[in-house]
């Protein structure tokens, strides 16, 4: 008898089971055969993930942009190294043809490389020195917004998912993401990539589970500073916007063309610093 593996969550650089002890089965595409059991994350798992993301903020944001860039590139390299696992999951659980699965992995890698390259450039594109009318040096820089929550609620798209991750973390944010339900099993190779790319613990935290059970927890968690809903459900979107008011979360709605500067700009704040110019 073949034992179906249990795929765990990815929180704070560790691979814990859900504290709730719940799981759900992912089947092999178009069959009733269990591909694997996945953890059904609870609100407490989410809480732990947010704590991990919060703890990781200072260290990650404090790294040089060049360093973050290198780590993102390393992620792309590790993804290439795990190509076979990704392709296997995509084919088995989502029914991709080999060619599509390969292409999908390519897109994931490209997304990560794209944001790797942006880590030390968006500041120059979007920053400014402000010609104020007085003896002051005033400059505006782009800073991370903080802990970003991501609810991925679209049809599975590895390129877009990687773009979400890359765009959030390349500027120094940390991330708690709820995996798209359909492709939940991708969490296994993806977590492996994250765990082996010199990415500090807690910078990216991945959860699998029920959108309906967790989205309100995302919406009301006060330590989440920005909430990205990559989905099209009007009610959820609207509920999240209402919940976001609790701590004035930046709510960021669905956006196509995620491999772009605008995608990255959704997760930054502008800080303006003034200093007198004198002797």
């Amino acid at each position: 008898m073949k034992i179906a593996k249990t795929i765990k969550l990815f929180i704070g650089g560790e691979f814990p089971r859900t504290e709730s002890g719940r799981s759900f089965a992912v089947t092999v595409f178009n069959t009733n055969n269990v591909y694997a059991n996945l953890c059904q994350a609870s609100r407490k798992d989410l809480k732990n993930a947010v704590s991990a993301a919060k703890a990781a903020l200072g260290g990650w944001g404090g790294k040089t942009a060049y360093n973050r860039s290198q780590i993102l590139y390393r992620m792309a390299e590790m993804m290439e190294g795990k190509r076979a696992e990704f392709v296997d999951v995509l084919m088995k659980t989502l029914g991709y043809f080999n060619e599509d699965a390969q292409k999908s992995v390519d897109q994931g890698i490209e997304s990560l490389v794209y944001f790797s390259g942006f880590a030390d450039k968006y500041q120059q594109v979007m920053g400014s020195v402000n010609p104020v009318a007085g003896p002051h040096h005033s400059f505006t820089t782009a800073e991370p917004v903080g802990v970003v929550g991501l609810i991925y609620d679209l049809k599975f798209n590895l390129g877009d998912l990687c773009a979400q991750i890359g765009s959030v973390i390349c500027s120094g944010n940390t991330l708690v993401a709820l995996m798209p339900f359909e492709g939940s099993a991708v969490i296994a190779p993806l977590s492996e990539v994250l765990a082996t790319s010199d990415l500090p613990k807690g910078v990216v935290n991945l959860l699998t589970g029920s959108r309906d059970e967790l989205y309100k927890v995302f919406g009301s968690h006060m330590e989440i500073h920005s909430l990205k809903y990559q989905g099209q459900d009007q009610k959820i979107s609207s509920d999240l916007q209402v919940l976001a008011t609790g701590n004035l979360k930046r709510f960021v709605g669905n956006k196509s063309d995620s491999v772009s500067l605008e995608q990255l700009l959704q997760f930054i704040e502008y800080k303006t610093v003034w200093h007198p110019i004198g002797l």
Partner: protein, 301 residues
């Protein structure tokens, strides 16, 4: 440490005070009483100094004022605080100012450069005091100061202050236009006060920039801190470059809001100026009469 932009902003703040009517007139009178009427030229003669002393006593003919008061007795214009001359002219001033409470200030210590052996600076000071100067305006050794030999600067002031002790007030001229930055002006102020200055003074008047509002403010703040630390009230004398009554009032406002009313007296605040006095007079007469006076109304001396 001093932030230049901050000190300039604060200086502008005082310029925005709007001093009108009675406050203005009182301030103008006070300014007159705070003037150190000065002549420090190679061409100074006995005649020039005598005439200056006359003006110091009576800045304008008393009848000019009284005509506006229908015979009522009025407060006459004050005399100025002091006349300031070279040591050789001290005897002339002593004679001309006899019987008045106008002080005789003499520059000393190889004014204006201070570039002479200390022995000569000491002699210079003694000469002035021995001939009747009751205030000594000494210059600091900028050469030593700018090369970081602060103890030399301190020691020279200390020695001169010993010579002055009990006989003359000591005003120490920093020549702020030469010492580069507000931080250094603050440092020089502290050295001077610690070494025994009764007054600190911005400039010789022999170079630009001389007194400015921010420079004076830096020095006033040093005085304030020194007072808080030691309980000693040090006087302040901006000198050179103050020509208009409006500016003078701005200085008064600044003293008022930085050190307080206690310093609004010729005991603790002076203007080192020559052309300021006539503008003060013009403004006083304008306030009283309502019409603008022309320059010729007041003597050139």
């Amino acid at each position: 440490m001093i932030d230049q932009v901050g000190i300039h902003e604060r200086a502008e703040f005082f310029a925005k005070r709007s001093i009108k009517k009675q406050s203005k007139l009182g301030a103008l009178y006070t300014c007159v009483s705070m003037c150190d009427l000065t002549t420090l030229e190679g061409s100074d003669t006995v005649g020039k100094v005598q005439q200056l002393c006359q003006k110091a006593i009576r800045p304008a003919p008393p009848t000019m004022l009284s005509q506006y008061f229908n015979g009522n007795k009025i407060e006459p214009l004050p005399s100025v605080a002091a006349v300031c001359v070279y040591p050789t002219m001290v005897p002339v001033a002593v004679k001309a100012l006899k019987g008045t409470d106008i002080k005789i200030a003499s520059v000393a210590t190889a004014f204006p450069s201070g570039q002479a052996p200390f022995e000569i600076k000491s002699q210079d000071t003694k000469f002035a005091i021995n001939h009747g100067a009751n205030e000594i305006d000494m210059v600091i050794n900028r050469g030593a100061f700018l090369s970081g030999k602060y103890s030399v600067v301190f020691d020279e002031i200390k020695e001169i202050s010993k010579i002055c002790a009990g006989k003359a007030h000591l005003k120490v001229i920093l020549e702020t236009g030469e010492i580069g930055s507000y931080d250094k002006i603050r440092l020089a102020s502290e050295i001077a006060m610690e070494a025994g200055a009764d007054f600190i003074k911005t400039s010789t008047g022999k170079m630009q920039p001389a007194a400015t509002v921010p420079v004076t403010l830096v020095m006033l703040q040093a005085i304030s801190d020194f007072y808080d630390k030691t309980g000693k009230k040090i006087g302040m004398k901006p000198a050179g470059g103050i020509r208009s009554a409006k500016e003078a009032i701005q200085y008064l406002v600044m003293v008022n809001e930085t050190l307080g009313e206690q310093w609004l007296s010729s005991e603790l605040f002076r203007f080192g100026a020559s052309s300021l006095l006539n503008d003060l007079l013009r403004q006083i007469f304008k306030e009283i009469s309502g019409s603008y006076y022309y320059e010729k109304s007041f003597s050139l001396d």
